[in-house]
Amino acid sequence: MSAAKRVTDIGPPHYEKFLPEVIKKNYGKWAYHEIPRPGVLKHVAESGDVLYSVRAGTPRLLNVKSIRLFADLADKYCGGHLRFTSRNNVEFLVTDESKIEPLIAELKAAGYPVGGTGNAISAIVHTQGWVHCHSAATDASGVVKSLMDELFPHFENMDLPAKLRIAFACCLNMCGAVHCSDIAILGVHTKVPTIDHANLPKMCEIPTLVASCPTGAIRPATVEGAQSITIEEHLCMYCGNCFTVCPAVKINNAKTDGLSIWVGGKVSNARTEPKFSKLVIPYLPNNPPRWPETVQAVKHLVEVYAAHARKYERMSEWVERIGWPRFFKLTGLPFTKYHIDDFRHAGETYKRSAQLKH
């Protein structure tokens, strides 16, 4: 077909097409909500109308066959109306209360559990991993599946002091809110990249490559007569940004790639301001298919938090109340030089007062 006839730039369909009657009617006129049971939100409109949202967990990676299954369930129980959430759960928009039970039953039977509402652990926001990305230090879907299997009771029950948001990213690009999560799992490269000098000049722009390094570790150099680069090993902290801009620099390493754990990030403005996650475990081995070290570490963090935090206290709020020294004591995690910031604003993270608990 000729470019002229091609339809382009139409943008997404208008959302209104997909809204159920009850929403169109009560749009912007919702009065309040309740959570009658885990995974079910009850929104009541000023008009008195009621909307039940039944939230089910998914692996995010979905086969079209499963999406068709969701479509069929939506037809059967809620006039074909459903949505997905910002954390990749699916929500069925039900008006007839009596349909909730059977819907939940069918979802469970099909392997899609209902939950994730209120003070629970919802789905883990994650990324591509070995399923689709070239930068991945580890797999995403596999780590997330292993974690959620272990944390599952907290998805089905609202038994935590507050929401506990967990996120995963497979490399420092951090596709997702890893840098601001209650608990974050981050894939890390831990070795200086290798350079394919033969192909580098063909494949990459050397100035861009040099500029890509946060620590200025990359220097232009002539290697065996050809234009290429060298990496000052002592300046490299393995961020992989050079690899992102130049395929001839290889960052992936089967032996030394691994995972790190971060806690105390937050996005909402509720009570306390949004915050970044902080490093608590610098390195855990990359151990498929179930990553037991990572799963146990995260589970332990959730348990210590659940046992000590006050009601309504997010992970970050709990840690700030008790202080980092006590956090490391309670969790039994070793504190090392890796935990001490040494990047651009490092000095801002030093403790600059005598206010200490002894």
Binding site: V7, T8, D9, I10, G11, P12, Y15, K17, Y27, G28, W30, A31, H33, E34, H43, L51, P59, L61, L62, N63, V64, K65, I67, F70, A71, D72, H81, R83, T85, S86, Y112, P113, G129, W130, H132, H134, D139, G142, M148, D149, F152, L172, C175, A177, H179, C180, A211, P214, N241, P247, V267, S268, N269, R271, T272, P274, P289, R290, K311, Y312
Partner: protein
């Protein structure tokens, strides 16, 4: 293993067990498809070797678009020929991720015909992710998608697919219409979305209130966070009911956790000193039946969030403390375009707007786009005495 004759997957099979839905099971639902068989095979190989097997994505896409497709190639094309190409198509989701069964089936049919039949619902930015197809299939898929009323999302150095919380459609706290705004900005800037012309990516996220259910403050170059100006609406009768219910200790759970401690409770009346309220939502979150945001609603616009590469992660910072969100959002679009012009001209390659602002200085940045500095934009004034004085200062004094 029998269910994937071509490549045994003992390691992946482990991940079919357990209560959480299994992505392996999702893949195996199409174990009959050669492309999925090879995907499973290469993935099992990665699990064995602890390393990925994808090559750097080349530039592929649909005619006239610079974004929306992530090129991906296997580095083991001989062993896994069916995923030699395995490109992702990013399809712009409807605002708020609302669907009907019919429209979902349409997308499924298209993707089963032209691609792997594997998706992500959704990608972190918000798109529908169609995972894995070959270069020749891109155009036909695109044609059928547009016919079905869908279009591609962003990738590369363009405006990325905006996203919004469900807002007024399904939430009592929405301080503006997040869906309307998200749709309007997406439509208005189709060219910026499809044809990368910026120094780097630019993301917009719309959250209806300070709970920020789309994590806009962490992930958007421009975050629109709903808020209000006047007094929190209080239904004292309902407050008393919460107190009576025994589920809530109004003093301990509500008043004492207020960041400004601007509430007091005498057992009968909840008094709020709204002049001190910072609109954090906590009290409202705890008592949805009793409290509501005020009536003078709008949003706070924040700017510059991003992931760590390369200067370290940033949260968005206050840009416009309060503005009403009324279509056609002309003032906001003027500002947005002024920012894009300035950034496009002076931003370095791969420099996000948040990094750009820090490099040129927020004060200079504001001057350039013609916005007055206000103290709401900062946590506190400068503590260092390194002030670039300008002539006019001496005249003033």
């Amino acid at each position: 293993m029998s269910d994937n004759p071509k490549h045994p997957t003992p390691l992946l099979d482990e991940l079919e067990k357990g209560p959480w839905p299994s992505f392996v099971r999702e893949l195996k639902k199409s174990a009959d498809k050669p492309v999925v068989q090879d995907l499973l095979g290469q993935l099992e190989r990665s699990y064995n070797e602890k390393i990925g097997h994808w090559k750097h994505g080349g530039i592929v896409g649909v005619m006239g678009y610079g974004g929306g497709v992530i090129g991906r190639y296997s580095d083991l094309p001989d062993e896994f020929p069916n995923i030699a190409h395995f490109h992702t198509m990013r399809v712009n989701q409807p605002a708020g991720w609302f669907y009907t069964s019919d429209v979902l089936r349409k997308i499924c049919d298209i993707w089963e015909a032209h691609g792997s039949g594997i998706t992500n619902m959704h990608g972190s930015t918000g798109d529908i992710i169609l995972l894995g197809t070959s270069t020749p299939e891109l155009e036909p898929t695109f044609a059928e998608l547009t016919e079905a009323g869908f279009d591609l999302g962003g990738s590369g150095s363009d405006m990325r697919t905006p996203s919004a919380c469900c807002g007024p459609a399904r939430c009592e706290w929405a301080c503006y219409d997040t869906l309307a705004a998200c749709y309007d900005f997406t439509q208005q800037y189709q060219d910026e979305l499809h044809r990368p012309a910026f120094p780097y990516k630019y993301k917009l996220k719309f959250a209806g209130c300070p709970n920020d259910c789309v994590a806009s403050v962490a992930r958007a170059d421009m975050s629109f966070i709903g808020t209000w100006k006047d007094d929190i609406q209080v239904n004292q009768e309902e407050v008393r009911k919460y107190a009576a219910s025994g589920k809530l200790d109004i003093q301990k759970d509500v008043c004492d956790l207020c960041p400004t401690r601007c509430m007091s409770w005498d057992g009968k009346e909840l008094a709020i000193d709204n002049s001190e309220c910072v609109k954090c939502m906590h009290c409202i979150n705890l008592m949805p039946k009793a409290l509501k945001p005020g009536k003078e609603r709008g949003c706070t616009i924040l700017i510059g969030a991003k992931a760590p590469i390369i200067g370290g992660a940033l949260l968005s910072s206050v840009f416009v403390p309060f503005i009403e969100m009324e279509p056609p959002y002309s003032d906001i679009k003027e500002l947005l375009e002024a920012i894009w012009d300035l950034w496009a001209e002076h931003g370095k390659n791969r420099e996000r707007v948040g990094e750009f602002i820090q490099r040129v200085g927020l004060g200079n940045f504001l001057e350039q786009i013609g916005l007055e500095p206000v103290p709401e934009m900062i946590a506190h004034p400068r503590t260092n005495p390194y002030i670039f004085f300008e002539e006019e200062l001496h005249e003033q004094a």
